[in-house]
Amino acid sequence: MTETGEAPVADFHDVVELHDVVRRFSGRPALDGISLSVARGEIVGLIGRSGAGKSTLIRCLNGLDRPEAGRVVIAGTDITRMDETALQPIRRRIGMIFQHFNLMSAKTVAENVALPLKIAGQTKAARQKRVMELLDLVGLADRAGHYPAQLSGGQKQRVGIARALAPEPLLLLSDEATSALDPETTQAILTLLQDVNRQLGLTILMITHEMEVVRQIAHRVLVLDGGRIVEEGPVARVLASPQTETTRSLLRGLSPVLPLDVAARIAPTGNQALIRLDVYGPAARKPLLAEIETVTGQPPRLVHGGLNDVQGEPYGRLFLALGTADADRITAVIDRLSPEATAVELLGYVPHDL
């Protein structure tokens, strides 16, 4: 560890705990009763539409914004009513990556990354060493002496990431850290964050609109809408079977949907049933199609969809034509699958030749 000023860290399990947090802006709630906890070493993805309250939520975690009601507990310390001075040592253990970078224009890349270390009182020699390490890590070592105005958006964001990681924080709050990056750099940054998470047990709360980012590194996902958490759960579960309309619309493009021509041929009656099957985790590893065959006597046909994986956990959505329209058998299939699947739905009937 570096000689950073240690926050008064109590014995704690959850790095972040929110209890019924409410934050209003001129009467309108931006956060409307948020309760959540983030365990040490966890990576939590925070998703939601624009204006859902995501930035406001993470600003409450380091006291940049103060809730009107509720409690904010960081690493076992209640910070809800702490004044700015008391918050300072705690903030030094929380890294923050801003949506709009927020780099000091009058400081070079190296000086920007060194700033949190300078604030924490590190010596110049210690700072320089750490800064070069970090700039190497984010691939900007050759830009150390440049000013932010001379960098591209993606480069600025990487400086912001290096700056947030500089003081070896306990908790990293990230507001769209990868939205300004190209796919290749995004990969590099995600791998970097995952490494820091595994090696140092860094807890990460990351806002993103890229489901791909959530899929790759988050353990758990929170969906925010209108200042409330409308859905939360393990990433594979939420991706496999979103429970709310908000989540579904945020996931659009990631979860397979039936092609329009197929959807147009679904009718209330027909030659064979078409079902949607959402699975994740152990259930997705079972020979489900064979199980269906033992019930119906014929192999189901995969019309659309398939399996994907979230950090080794398979999840997916399958559209299956059962080859039969017999009501009893269909009910039997659904009964058989229901305990295993996250969701099974009879969509309707389609012709044989589909």
Binding site: L64, F98, I119
Partner: protein, 227 residues
């Protein structure tokens, strides 16, 4: 000096010495009161910005009171201020005439002016940058040192240049009440004795001084502006 012979031919030796003395006195008056205005005005500007609503040292009573004093001082015409502060000048300098005496009213006029100009630049610093520093756990003095002042510096330098230029003009006015300097020479020789050559020489020197100062100030401001 290289120009000695040139000037000696163009004007009499005593006149040249007179102008040189006047130039020196103007430089001293402007320089010292400019420096004092910087030392007094910048903290005033920082107080005005940080004690305002949402500032890091929010204190509306202090903010309103200081804002009122600064405005009051700025609304007094310099020529009136020059006379009005004579008792104070006597108290500080021991005399009401001379360069040292002129520095008192010049500073009292320029410090609030510079404070307002610097305040504008400080207010333009993006709140998001202050948030970034707060998020790092910066103390309030660290926010002033690492964010507010460096980010506003190009504007502060430009504002200080304008202040110095204004001071050159004001010091000429102070000359009129016996403070010395180029203004004094222009009044005594050019205006009262109809020595047009002296008047022209003074005006030319002032133009060169102001233009040079503006040029240097602009260059410095541009050199430190990395936005």
């Amino acid at each position: 000096m290289i120009y000695d012979t040139f000037f000696a031919r163009a004007m009499s030796r005593p006149l040249f010495d007179l102008l040189l003395k006047g130039l020196w006195e103007t430089v001293v008056m402007t320089g010292v009161s400019g420096l004092l205005s910087l030392v007094i005005g910048l903290p005033l500007a920082l107080i005005l910005v940080t004690t305002d609503r949402g500032g890091i040292y929010q204190n509306l009573v202090v903010n309103r009171a200081l804002g009122w004093v600064v405005n009051a001082l700025r609304s007094v015409p310099f020529i009136i201020l020059l006379v009005a502060v004579i008792p104070l000048t006597r108290l500080i300098v021991g005399s009401a005439i001379g360069i040292a005496a002129a520095i008192v009213p010049l500073t009292i006029a320029a410090a609030p002016y510079f404070a307002r100009v610097a305040e504008v630049s400080l207010r333009e610093v993006d709140r998001a940058l202050i948030d970034a520093a707060r998020a790092m756990g910066a103390t309030r003095p660290a926010i002033l040192r690492e964010v507010l002042v460096p980010e506003a510096l190009p504007g502060i330098v430009s504002g200080f240049t304008v202040t110095l230029v204004t001071l050159i003009g004001a010091s000429a006015m102070a000359g009129a009440v016996g403070a010395g300097g180029l203004g004094d020479i222009a009044i005594r020789y050019g205006y009262q004795r109809f020595e047009t050559a002296v008047m022209v020489a003074v005006v030319v020197i002032l133009i060169v001084m102001v233009a040079g100062m503006q040029w240097a100030g602009d260059r410095l401001a541009r050199a430190i502006d990395h936005r």
